[in-house]
Amino acid sequence: MNLAFYLAAAVAVFATAMVVTRLNAVHALLYLVVSLLAVALMFYILGAPFAAALEIIIYAGAIMVLFVFVVMMLNLGEQAVARERGWLTPGIWVGPALLSVVLLAELLYILIPGTRAVVNPEIVDAKRVGVELFGPYLLAVELASMLLLAGLVGAWQLGRRDVPAERQEAGHDSDAD
């Protein structure tokens, strides 16, 4: 019975349920970060430390920051200050903070030398992943780079503040392509 794994799984499921049921986008994002951290801990226990690191760096770091930026851009206005004041009340961040403390305690427990038994001993480390990634999976890496380039170009094009074609027909709700 791997208690650490099931505790992380419970935190992940609970935080994800909270994401789906929150009304405010920022509250949901807080819980989503906690959910991703819990899944990262599950990866670590499963013996995939590289995937756990990527989960935290890319998912909980980069992608969540994108979400936060968009929420910030959508909240321009004078009511943003009042909303900001509401966010600082303890009732909102106490839930995600408590879940994070649970995950932190679990991580510290795992890192104690005597208790490494909860982690899967057959660890697939970053070296093996890299060797396979740039060996048999080289084509997939190339395709992923094309996908990222397409995403970059698409996001840049869609995110521009004034597309020339749109300026000509300002006021219409048609979309120039």
Partner: protein, 102 residues
């Protein structure tokens, strides 16, 4: 790596995927729909990593890396579209966008 742990990891992945699907179906805010899509992609990644750990092979983590790449590209495009929709319609309600011309 015991088989039961793999089974339970896959079970958790299914639960997370169902939560994500229900989020996509229930929520009408575009931001929440995108978040639920992230949850679903994350659940798929968990399934791959669990299966890769079961056989002590690196393939699961490689698929997870590809999934994370897909998620990054998808969320960049999706959020750019959401911003554009918000500028155009002043709302993020998916139902308000259902009226298409043509």
């Amino acid at each position: 790596m015991t088989a039961t742990l793999t089974d339970h990891a896959l079970l958790i992945a299914v639960v997370l995927l169902v939560l994500g699907v229900s989020g996509v179906l229930v929520r009408r805010n575009l931001l929440f729909i995108l978040m639920s899509l992230e949850i679903m992609l994350n659940a798929a990644g968990l399934a791959f990593v669990a299966a890769g750990a079961r056989w002590a092979q690196a393939d699961g983590q490689i698929m997870f890396i590809l999934i994370i790449t897909l998620a990054a590209a998808e969320v960049a495009i999706g959020l750019a579209l959401a911003l554009r929709i918000y500028r155009h319609f002043r709302t993020l309600d998916a139902d308000a966008l259902s009226g298409m011309r043509g």
